[in-house]
């Protein structure tokens, strides 16, 4: 029987699960909103993949059960599960995952729900250095989410709303102040699309500063939930003046890396 490994990335907004075989082929991937219970959602993703792939040996969640794959958990919820073979930080997992999807990656920029990070990788995908944002929502998915709410749209709709508009500059980096800024802009009669574009650009600008602080080593791979926004990718490329690599699976890079680490665990 082939060795399988599952990686689960419990983020603040979404929980991602990936099932891998020894050849690093993705057999399945699942995404659920994390909601209020990272523990329950992590477990739900775990069970969902097991059931879909008929891997459940019995109804228990024991990773030592011979049928069940190994499970490596990452993300901020990595410490709450009780079925994990191992917990590894999202920094190491993103490095590993990015290397598998795109071996030329030397810099990963990950913009998640509550934090953003820049990681430098060696040719072999080892973490050489990393930088995380401080304890503040500026430059994260959370910033975009709060701003979307004040525009009355879902964060996933922000890019579509901004399409075709010129940006109205959002000056405040602080989420709380930026929200009042958006409200004033609306009161002044600015189009929602212009503001949406401004929000996207402002987030990209913050990400670019972080990247430049670390030093850009090409190629740069953009991951995390925010990477799904095509206008964000465009804004980031304009700020950096280089092309940034992206994949549809970019949100699963952490889970993928976790699964790959599971394959490396001996025994």
């Amino acid at each position: 029987m082939q060795t399988l490994s599952m990686g689960i990335d419990i983020g603040s907004v979404a929980t991602k699960g990936v099932l891998l075989n020894q050849d690093h082929e993705i057999l399945d991937k699942v995404l659920l909103p994390t909601g209020w219970s990272p523990k329950k959602t992590g477990e739900a993703v775990y069970r969902l993949i097991l059931e879909k792939k008929r891997l459940m040996a019995d109804s228990t969640l024991d990773p030592r059960s011979s049928m069940n794959p190994r499970v490596v958990v990452t993300g901020y919820g990595r410490v709450v599960t009780d079925f994990a073979t191992k917990a590894v930080t999202e920094i190491t997992c993103h490095g590993k995952g990015a290397q598998i999807l795109h071996p030329k990656t030397r810099t990963v920029i990950d913009i998640g729900g509550q934090d953003s990070k820049v990681i430098h990788l060696s040719e072999k995908g080892k973490v050489l250095d990393f930088l995380m944002n401080d304890k503040c929502a500026a430059g994260t998915g959370r910033f975009m989410e709060v701003m979307s709410t004040s525009l009355g749209v879902e964060v996933g709709e922000l890019s579509a709303l901004a399409e075709g508009y010129k940006a109205r500059k959002i000056n405040n980096m602080c989420t709380v102040f930026a929200e009042s800024e958006v409200i004033s802009l609306l009161a002044e009669g600015a189009a929602k699309g212009e503001i949406a574009r401004g929000i996207i650009n402002s987030t990209a600008q913050k990400a670019a500063v972080m990247l430049k602080r670390m030093g850009i080593q090409e190629e740069v791979f953009l991951t995390g939930g925010v990477s799904q926004s095509p206008l964000f990718r465009k804004a980031l490329e304009e700020e950096l003046n280089i092309s940034v690599y992206f994949r549809q699976e970019a949100q699963f890079v952490g889970a993928l890396g976790a699964a790959a680490i599971g394959l490396d665990i001996k025994g």
Partner: protein, 384 residues
């Protein structure tokens, strides 16, 4: 796997707050200080007790913020908060306070603190190198000496100073010997125990008793080394912690590092090794020798501060370090800016993993710091 004497070291906290009360009641003078630049020997020469004052806990910060800005470093806010709420026994029993013009935040805070108790502020040059700076610093030392002579109505002789220097050096040497025990791999003492022992020396009312206790602790720890006892293994990542001072109440990052599986083997900060590196020259004219020693402190308020890099490189080598962690307090401009140079030096010259952690005394960011620390240790171990 902890020396039994550490219990006695920890008890010093209670013991010293009783001793300071007794000493003060018996008419002994107490000089309260805040910084590793404070020449304790001059106070000792005046037959006074020099003590470090409280400033490592979060509790009094709210009270301090009634007067100080919120976005100020927690060390300054805590120090002022303890003073203004009168919750530090050492502050309470201090007859006079000694402070220095180190960083902007501290020197402006001292103006407010000076309203509470008599305070002498030494004008510290902003450059540590150069004969003219040393000369100036020596006149400041003399001004402090005259201040104490006047305040305590007693003459300080060269003999007093020489005796104080000898005692100060003995204490410094014993603390240095203790710190150097952790050069051994695996380290015999946890970083937390080392920090506690080093930090508590600042509160020692009875210097001789303090020296003896540490001598005994060294003997016990040496026996542990001989028997191969350590809380760690040879595989445990060895960390050099640099940056801002820490003490009981502000040891969050040190704690997280060790909870996450690291061994903090060297503390470069001013509550650790920084003040121990260099002794006062006992052959030289005492005031000059004291001035030289204190001005050589590699503090981030000096420009440039190249000797910090030199010290880091020596410690990294002597302690067989695997990575350097630079701890900086929020709104501490000097350490936060210098972190860029320290990081560059560690990564490019020492070729070692480096991380800066900026935080304050609160526990609100424990989760975020844990991710960074664990990722840093994964990076060092390079397993995946």
């Amino acid at each position: 796997m902890r020396p039994s004497l550490m219990k006695q070291v920890e008890e010093l906290r209670g013991v010293n707050s009783v001793k300071i009360k007794e000493a003060s009641e018996q008419g002994k003078k107490v000089v309260g200080t805040y910084c590793v630049f404070s020449p304790h020997e001059i106070a000792m020469a005046a037959d006074a007790i020099p003590v470090t004052l409280c400033g490592t806990k979060e509790e009094p910060i709210a009270a301090a913020e009634e007067k100080l800005p919120r976005n100020l470093c927690p060390l300054i806010k805590s120090s002022y908060g303890f003073a203004v709420t009168d919750t530090c026994p050492y502050f309470y029993f201090s007859d006079v306070l000694l402070a220095e013009t180190t960083c902007d935040g501290k020197k402006k805070m001292y103006e407010l603190m000076g309203e509470i108790k008599p305070m002498h502020v030494m004008n510290l040059p902003q450059q540590g190198e150069g004969e003219e700076n040393l000369k100036f610093w020596e006149t400041e030392m003399k001004r402090f000496k005259s201040f104490l002579e006047e305040s305590f109505d007693r003459k300080i002789t060269d003999e007093d100073l020489k005796a104080a220097i000898k005692l100060g050096n003995r204490e410094r040497q014993v603390m240095k010997d203790l710190h150097e025990l952790n050069r051994v791999k695996p380290a015999p003492l946890s970083g937390k125990d080392m920090m506690m022992a080093q930090w508590l020396k600042g509160f020692n009312v009875d210097k001789e008793a303090g020296i003896h206790l540490i001598e005994d602790l060294i003997t016990e720890t040496r026996d542990m080394i001989k028997e191969g006892k350590s809380p760690y293994t040879t595989e445990t990542p060895r960390i050099l912690l640099t940056g801002v001072p820490i003490g009981a109440g502000s040891e969050k990052v040190l704690e997280i590092l060790e909870e996450s599986g690291a061994s903090v083997v060297a503390l470069e900060n001013c509550t650790g090794y920084k003040g121990l590196d260099r002794m006062i020259d006992e052959e030289k004219e005492p005031m000059k020798a004291i001035s030289e020693k204190y001005l050589s402190t590699p503090c981030s308020c000096m420009t440039p501060n190249n000797s910090r890099l030199d010290l880091l490189s020596r410690l990294a080598k002597d302690y067989q370090v695997d990575g350097v962690v630079d701890l900086t307090w929020q709104a501490c401009h000097t350490y936060n800016i210098e972190s860029y140079q320290v990081g560059k030096f560690v990564k490019e010259e020492l070729k070692m993993p480096f991380i800066q952690i900026e935080t304050d005394y609160s526990n609100s960011d424990r989760g975020q710091i844990k991710v960074r620390v664990e990722a840093f240790l994964e990076q060092i171990q390079g397993e995946y």
